[in-house]
Symmetry: D2
Subunit: 428 residues, 4 copies
Amino acid sequence: MVQYKDQKLHEEKVFKDPVHSYVHVRDQVIWDLISTREFQRLRRIRQLGTTFLVFHGAEHTRFNHSLGVYELMRRVVDDRFQGRDEWDDNERLVVLCAALLHDLGHGPFSHAFENVFQLDHEQYTRAILLGDTEVNAVLRKVSEDFPLKVSQVIEKTYPNRLVVSLISSQIDVDRMDYLQRDAFYTGVTYGHFDLERILRVLRPYKEHAVIKLSGMHAVEDYIMSRYQMYLQVYFHPVSRSAEAILNHILQRAKHLYMSNYDFDIEPRPFVPFFTNNITLEDYICLDESILFTYFQLWMNERDEVLRDLCTRFVNRRLFKYSNLNSEDDVERYGKLQQLFAQVGIDPMYYLVADSTSDDFYRPASTKNPIMILMPDGTLQELSTVSPIVDAVAGKMKVDRKIYYPLDVIEALEDEALRDEILTLLHRK
Amino acid sequence: MVQYKDQKLHEEKVFKDPVHSYVHVRDQVIWDLISTREFQRLRRIRQLGTTFLVFHGAEHTRFNHSLGVYELMRRVVDDRFQGRDEWDDNERLVVLCAALLHDLGHGPFSHAFENVFQLDHEQYTRAILLGDTEVNAVLRKVSEDFPLKVSQVIEKTYPNRLVVSLISSQIDVDRMDYLQRDAFYTGVTYGHFDLERILRVLRPYKEHAVIKLSGMHAVEDYIMSRYQMYLQVYFHPVSRSAEAILNHILQRAKHLYMSNYDFDIEPRPFVPFFTNNITLEDYICLDESILFTYFQLWMNERDEVLRDLCTRFVNRRLFKYSNLNSEDDVERYGKLQQLFAQVGIDPMYYLVADSTSDDFYRPASTKNPIMILMPDGTLQELSTVSPIVDAVAGKMKVDRKIYYPLDVIEALEDEALRDEILTLLHRK
Amino acid sequence: MVQYKDQKLHEEKVFKDPVHSYVHVRDQVIWDLISTREFQRLRRIRQLGTTFLVFHGAEHTRFNHSLGVYELMRRVVDDRFQGRDEWDDNERLVVLCAALLHDLGHGPFSHAFENVFQLDHEQYTRAILLGDTEVNAVLRKVSEDFPLKVSQVIEKTYPNRLVVSLISSQIDVDRMDYLQRDAFYTGVTYGHFDLERILRVLRPYKEHAVIKLSGMHAVEDYIMSRYQMYLQVYFHPVSRSAEAILNHILQRAKHLYMSNYDFDIEPRPFVPFFTNNITLEDYICLDESILFTYFQLWMNERDEVLRDLCTRFVNRRLFKYSNLNSEDDVERYGKLQQLFAQVGIDPMYYLVADSTSDDFYRPASTKNPIMILMPDGTLQELSTVSPIVDAVAGKMKVDRKIYYPLDVIEALEDEALRDEILTLLHRK
Amino acid sequence: MVQYKDQKLHEEKVFKDPVHSYVHVRDQVIWDLISTREFQRLRRIRQLGTTFLVFHGAEHTRFNHSLGVYELMRRVVDDRFQGRDEWDDNERLVVLCAALLHDLGHGPFSHAFENVFQLDHEQYTRAILLGDTEVNAVLRKVSEDFPLKVSQVIEKTYPNRLVVSLISSQIDVDRMDYLQRDAFYTGVTYGHFDLERILRVLRPYKEHAVIKLSGMHAVEDYIMSRYQMYLQVYFHPVSRSAEAILNHILQRAKHLYMSNYDFDIEPRPFVPFFTNNITLEDYICLDESILFTYFQLWMNERDEVLRDLCTRFVNRRLFKYSNLNSEDDVERYGKLQQLFAQVGIDPMYYLVADSTSDDFYRPASTKNPIMILMPDGTLQELSTVSPIVDAVAGKMKVDRKIYYPLDVIEALEDEALRDEILTLLHRK
């Protein structure tokens, strides 16, 4: 009888996917993993967190993305690598599972949530793979050590470096899927690059998936897409404003709970997070529908800060923002904190500074630079071959912003203080 | 000073839309409506209900669609109708508002929800427009009777029939948006028709928006798209299976509540619906995040039926289905009900029959057929001019299916009964 | 040493194709065929004849299309059929060659040219395959009887009916390519159907390539695309007007030559066609650049008819058209001929009637209907399964038109005769 | 009665365009210009010269492109500029005509042809506008000085600099059309940028069309597209190889003619060019169909060089190429010339060196840099605002290549000389 790891579905299943046209599943293992409770949970975690508040099309979830990453990996190993000398087809299943499951540990609105409660989604991915879960049960049917192997690939500790590089490098299937997918759903024209070409020129080469020189221009295009997506979409200030509010809602709720505030309805799903006493089950149970439900409940709480922040988030009344220059920010920010306190706006919750700097291609500072396979069989790091990548590599664009509730400030009665604040915010 | 109804934003606002490229807003009224709590709530109501469980791309919401309908209407009145004799530009604002707000009263998973609690989303749209809401406050700033006017356009009772026909006819902007949008997000290739062409040949003509003959083939294509979308997407049996389960969850929860069942956590947001004592605020507060939250809570309830159905819905373990022929369905269905009861599977919750019949183009049975403007200035109903529409018009395709938990049936220990059931389900 | 038929290129060659993304060539035979003079000649024969005079985007050639048909066939046999029981992989090469070369015998502006000189492009395809040509030399390197085999596949006399059906049936790769390609280049929105889906559900089944039921809706869409492309593009009256003029240029030139008219420059490449004494070399030498060159030369000929018709064609001053009803056409057409002669416009060259009737799906009248593979393993003809195809199958839309030089008629000095003519043309 | 310049067509005409969806014409002047013989001639001049020999999809003509440039200009002036303070709508017609007619003087395979015969297409554009042509007749109906005005806009000498900048700047409608159009027809994925966005943020500002800061990222994307199109498409070495052969055909034919060679058929259309005694009519009569016709005739000429080069061009048997480094090129090239002569391959016709350097964005060296309109109303040159453009601006990539008939060299009998040549070509 055929072993579980080799079992094929009676008939190939296809998922219609708007980005890759179709996602194909033939392996029983993959099919069973998709059906697990933990994987289905990803349907309730948005791929781009608060971005849908800026780009209304971006309502897609991590479920959507995870299937896409799996499909790209399948195309690489089944259509490109299979049969090549440097590829060991015994690694096929572990790498497909890793692709499918790499985002399993993401919580609701990942960054803000992890930030406030000091969590790490990678640790939870590992916990779900290795813990008492449906996913683990499926993986264990392959072999006792298979869950650990999948986990190692995702954590980049797997011995076969080629396998790791497929899922975590400067040009891995994860990034290729999300750039195209996020561009598709937001509707921006950036984010398009010749994915088919890149897959076609990808070659297994010792410890790396490398790119043949003939595909270098498609890779240049990919680098530029990435740059534009970071600047235009991922670092959009309105989305960062929403994230700041979200962050403060969670901080305020925790603060209240720890101060024995009497919630109108007990925030049961949050208690383990407030008290830092989290079981795997607590974590898995949480999703964005639960956050939205509680945020709406808290819109009726007595605590004014919590009530206001939740109302802002749910009804999209976000903070406005101004630029912050590095030179004067300490002083100006300090002055603003003082003035906010003076007029009765708690700066801890209502004055936020953040900065982004683009995660651009940086050959020197990365373990997995993009390697180009030259016609003579040697490898060259991308920026040494491409003048355009060389030109942009390592360029840094820092964007510092300050966020605040402009509506509240404009409604201040003390005209002098109001004007002083607005001036400091460069709004006068 | 310029009146509120004529106020323009200092600078036009654009929303990036993946389907129509951009949504443009210049009117202060439209901007203010988008910012209301009731409109923002549409972000938490999926456009296609349970369809995302089949087409994973279809995670878009009614917020997304409503902006699209508004934008199409704007293009019709601002780019096409403005300046034409038969168009009164004073109707511009009411028709834009109606386009934007036409889905305002939709509840979570509209059909199932309305069905169980005997609600009507159109009545709630009216209630939100005319009641004590943020939307109403904005509309009233235009004029005292403006909320009523908008409501009349949506309800098709507005005196200017041309205005009504733009939003509710066989080829209105609502349908044109959702066909294209749903095709885009599901990823199916159907649903594409030459929208730009149709908008270009649309003409105001007495009580109708009519189509110039030169655009007839684009309309034929639209009719075919619609047919395919109904068959392939809207009536997909897996989505209907999920809807059946959803329906039964709500029925079971109501039944338990009315039987004084002691819920582990009080289903507070549902109580008004169970007891049919619903305020507008109760209705507005409800959204799909709350349903998903409670369904997850109910996965831990003591009641086995509620627990099981919720688990099925949340983790996507849906009912399987078989075809039902009209001839024998009464008898076969009755027999199945009896057998289900006999083996301990409550047929009230675990045996569902439904049928769909396509909402195809039917010139005779409709008040607003598609009228073609002939070169000689006369009007002809579409199917009298188009042989292909004539061929398909009025064709009816009925699809009757029966849904059941195949996993439970296959696990029955009594082999004879199990086989009898499977035979009746045409699975043997 | 590896046989010629099995020789692979050192590295796969790819052609960038705007319709299918890439065309892939690995076989030395295919590469050598593409490089032949006879295949390169297809670069100078437009795919859609005179259509570029209506849809300016449609400047693509039969070279372009032939590569596309080859690529689709390659995807069918290499990606879909290979390894299936009912498919004999020894037929791979013959079917790829037939796909690539099926249009080899097309002359410039095929229909008009064949019409006037009573030629048959299929006969010339055969002649090029079997005659003393570069193509023949390549094919003979495979085996002595290989040119004949390729020819038999194209002529549908090849013993393996499955192979024939791939290239000539109601849903063969030839049609699938041209519908999509012509839609792409004309820019019309019709012509799009889910090609990937159709390829995926295609199965070898005895003598047919059949379609699995699960792909039926994609086939319905294909049928509708075809209908729209015929009506909107292939039968466009302006393109037919251009074709009528082209037809008359060739007839006039032949008439003049046979009447010993003294051409200013000898129409050397045409002489064999005028005298019906055509060698294969004469045929191969002809292409559309030569026709355009001579038409321009003839714009300076003394013969007024030839001069005028060439000027009309080259500078796009086409005939206008009116509808012709079947009932009265004999009488009306006769009357017009008489009046044209009376006012000095030669009706033989300046009054044209033609009719088109759509080449729609007709299950009864065709040898190769589309067969659907049902889940129970039986075959059903498409229209018996699809209500929409059943509705349209066999529907006939005849379009009769009359073409004439409106500019000349309007310039007639005799007002009464002019008006009589215009009235008969339904222009008054 | 309405003046000719203001006459509108009874009904707007639309051309279906695969790139811009539709081209709209309402002005009688534009319609009449499109119908002229000189404009229709552009249907017989390919947009990308020899590129179709590499990218088979690129069979589109300058007719196709010219309509596209007109349409973009129409969208700028009618949809964007109309009504703005800085825009004088009296300039509308002249700028539309200039957009439509800017390529009127292009000859067949422009660069090679101009090169050999020392022509300048801009001078011929002017000649057609101002000479005794149909185009001139239409323009003169507007006003006596109108042809000159159109010509001045195209030649950048028109007084209103804003008008000039719309058609000739670093981001004019000409470039925006050809980048998108050429990408569309070649099928490459580069060349896509958010055209709609750029048009939307374009503003008339004194002497420039400037870009609002909010659209800067779309412009960055445009700059990158341009870079990729130059490197991947416009400078493709295979296309340059074909151009080299074309160049040599024309040089050889001229040389033969001037040496009183007795052509089998007199090369009548070329004589004025050989003897540098060209009338406007001679120029207009020439197109690519005539070149292809004569090249085919010359495939049978006695002169071996002419015969061979024509065969190579028509049947696509192009020269192969190797890289040429600047350091050693003089010496190596000289040595190769000598060896070619020694083995009997005329280096004048069979050894070609060329180099390309990308026409990248260079703010300093250009009169019309891209200016960004800052929120404070000031202008900034693009590269001072965009770090990515700054990084690439002025970067130069020179590509030097040498072309030769590898087939002939490989067939040399003298093994030592053959190897010496191949070594110098870096093929050993």
